[in-house]
Structures are given as C-alpha cells and as structure tokens.
C-alpha cells in the first residue's frame, strides 16, 4: 500500500503526526520516494522565485505633500522680517509718549464735526439751487468759517497713535504672510 498524495503533502508541510511511519515507507519504496522528490522540486521552484522591484514609490502618496506655492525669495522674507522688527521698535518707542501725552489729548467732538459738515453741505445745496433759479445774479461762492473745527487737529500724540496702529497691522500682516507661505 503506497502513501497517499495527502500524506506526502502533509509530510513536506510538517503537518503530520506520523512522520516516522511515512519515512519508513519512503525508505523501502522507490515509487513513493520519486513522487516525494517531484513535490520537493516544486517547493524549491516556488522558493526560487525572485522578488521583483516595485516600479514606483507608493509611499510618496501617503506622505504629506510639499507646499504647492513656491517659497518666497529669501530677500523678501528678510525684508518682511526687518520691517516687522522696525515696526516693533517704533511701537516700543511710542509707548512712553502714550502714557505722557494721552491724558492731554483733547479729541475734538465728532458730533460737532458732523454738524459742521452737514451745515456746510446744506449751504452748498442752497447756493446751487439759488444759482439755478437766478443765474443772472452771478456766481459767488459763500465764504464760510469753521469756528468749531480745530485748526490743526493732528497733534504729535495722534501721530503716535496712528503709528502704533499701523505697526500692529504691519506685524500681523507680515506674520500671516510668512506663516501661510511656510505651511
């Protein structure tokens, strides 16, 4: 009685409990030994199959993509940084002036300004309508005085406030620019 295909396969796969029994038969039976070596040759063939090289790098698909926007030129980055630094220095310089001058600043009332401008606008309209009604009387612009408007509303302290606000925007703007470009 020869060995079955199942016995030979299980023997080569190390999945049998009857190894000794099978080996005894193989020693005495050339036919079964030949069947076993044919199967063994197949195992060797399958083992010999070389690994092939992967044509493209799949890993690249999973890595974070580099920024699509081109990097800012180096000089531009440097300029932006220097500007931000200069603005920061100006802001620091301006701070003592705030504390000294801010209490002294008397901001002209906005409502007064508003009324002045409104009355100016109304008188302009009046003049225009008069001109349209009696063109013969001639053209003369009314001469108005703005008593309530401050003669020179922009004082030094106001300039510093403006400078400080501009500086803050500048720092934020440059910061955003650099940050967006880096990511």
């Amino acid at each position: 009685m020869h060995l079955t295909d199942e016995q030979l396969n299980e023997y080569l796969d190390n999945e049998t409990a009857n190894r000794a029994e099978i080996e005894t038969h193989l020693d005495s039976c050339d036919e079964c030994a030949a069947r076993l070596s044919a199967l063994q040759a197949l195992f060797t063939d399958l083992d010999s199959l070389p690994e092939v090289t992967l044509p493209r790098d799949i890993a690249a698909r999973f890595r974070p993509r580099p920024s699509l926007a081109p990097q800012l030129p180096h000089w531009l980055t440097l300029t932006a940084t220097l500007q931000a630094a200069a603005a920061l220095v100006a802001l620091i310089v301006a701070i003592p002036f705030f504390s000294i001058m801010l209490p002294k600043v008397e901001m002209p009332s906005f409502t007064t300004w508003f009324f002045e401008i409104q009355s100016l606008w109304t008188s302009w309209l009046d003049t225009l309508s008069n001109l349209a009604l009696s063109p013969i009387e001639g053209f003369q612009l009314p001469n108005y005085q703005f008593a309530n408007l401050p003669t020179y509303p922009v004082e030094l302290s106001t300039l510093f406030i403006a400078l400080a606000i501009v500086s803050i925007f500048w720092i934020f703007g440059n910061g955003m620019l650099l940050r967006n470009n880096r990511s």
Binding site: D5, E6, N9, E10, D13, E15, A38, L39, A41, L42, F43, D45, L46, D47, S48, L49, P50, E51, V52, T53, L54, P55, R56, D57, I58, A59, A60, R61, F62, R63, P64
Partner: protein, 178 residues
C-alpha cells in the same frame, strides 16, 4: 539613533502622522507589491492593489493588534484584496509578459533564471484564484493549514484539497517530461 520600529510608526500614524505612515509603507511596499504580483501576474494591477492595500490598512490601523507583527498582517490583507479583485473583475488585461529583473547573475544565467521565473509565474497565474491564494499563503507567507482556514474562512478540508490540487497542477506544468 535607532530606526523606529514598525510599532513606533504605527502609533505615530494612528495619531495622524502622515510622515510616519509613509515610512511604514516604504518599508513594506515591495513585499506587498510582490504578493499582489504573484497572485495577479500583472504589474499595473499589482501596483494598484498594493496601493489599495495600504489605503485599507490605514483605515483599519486602529484595530491592528500591536502585539503582532505588521508584515504578515499587511501581506494577508494584500492577498485577500487580490482575491476579491480577481473575483469581481474578470481578467481584462493580458497577463504580464515582462521579465523579472535580477542583476546578480551573469547574462547567461540571468536568461535561464528569468525564463524559469516566468514559467513559474505563468504556471501560478493559470491556477484558479482560490488555489493561487492558498499557494501564496502556504509557500510565501508560511501560514499553517489552520491559519489559512482561519484567514480565508473556509474548512480545513478545503484548504488541503485546494493546496494539494494546486501543487498537482503546478507539477504537471513545470515538471512535465519534455
């Protein structure tokens, strides 16, 4: 500094570190591609399925048991995906006629090895899909009968009959007396 282990990379990838997952893919992409190529015998399909394997694996990474090895797991995922692929797509593309590259041998030896490799690949490709998968899991992934039955969710008797019939067919193709 030592290279991070697969486990380190998996932990980082789970926290959303794409660079870590890229490194993990780079480590295993060739062996996964070879699993796919042995089963599908077509390079373009094998590339697609290898990529698909890593996409699926990323989705299931949180369920991966960190006590186990990543390599056998990802190779089994690949084998299963390939079987699903064969079953849902009847082969449209012709089987790959490309020859394997192996630069370690002299030109004479190289031609012989290439021809033999190609014969083996063709013989594998001629098997029914289920037979191919069992051969892949037994010979290339070195799973036991029980593990294969578990993996494919088929009875142990089916594992044996598929494997033994597959081998019989391969012997007939590869060792037929000239």
């Amino acid at each position: 500094m030592n290279a991070p282990t697969d486990r380190d990379l998996i932990l980082r990838a789970r926290r959303g570190d794409a660079e870590a997952y890229g490194d993990l893919v780079a480590r295993h992409q060739t062996s996964v591609f070879n699993v796919c190529y042995r089963i599908l015998h077509n390079r373009a399909d094998a590339e697609d399925l290898a990529q698909e394997t890593f996409i699926r694996a990323l989705d299931r990474l949180h369920t991966f048991d960190l006590e186990r090895e990543f390599s056998p797991w990802i190779r089994r995922v690949a084998a299963n995906l390939c079987l699903n692929h064969i079953e849902s797509h009847k082969p449209s593309a012709p089987l790959d006629e490309e020859r394997d590259e192996d630069k370690t041998q002299s030109p004479g030896e190289q031609v012989e090895v290439k021809e033999r490799s190609e014969q083996i690949r063709s013989a594998l490709a001629s098997l029914p899909p289920h037979y191919r998968l069992v051969v892949e899991l037994r010979h290339y992934q070195e799973l036991s009968y029980d593990e294969i039955a578990n993996e494919l969710d088929i009875p142990l008797s089916d594992v044996k009959s598929h494997l033994f019939r597959a081998r019989k067919l391969l012997v007939e193709k590869l060792h037929a007396p000239d």
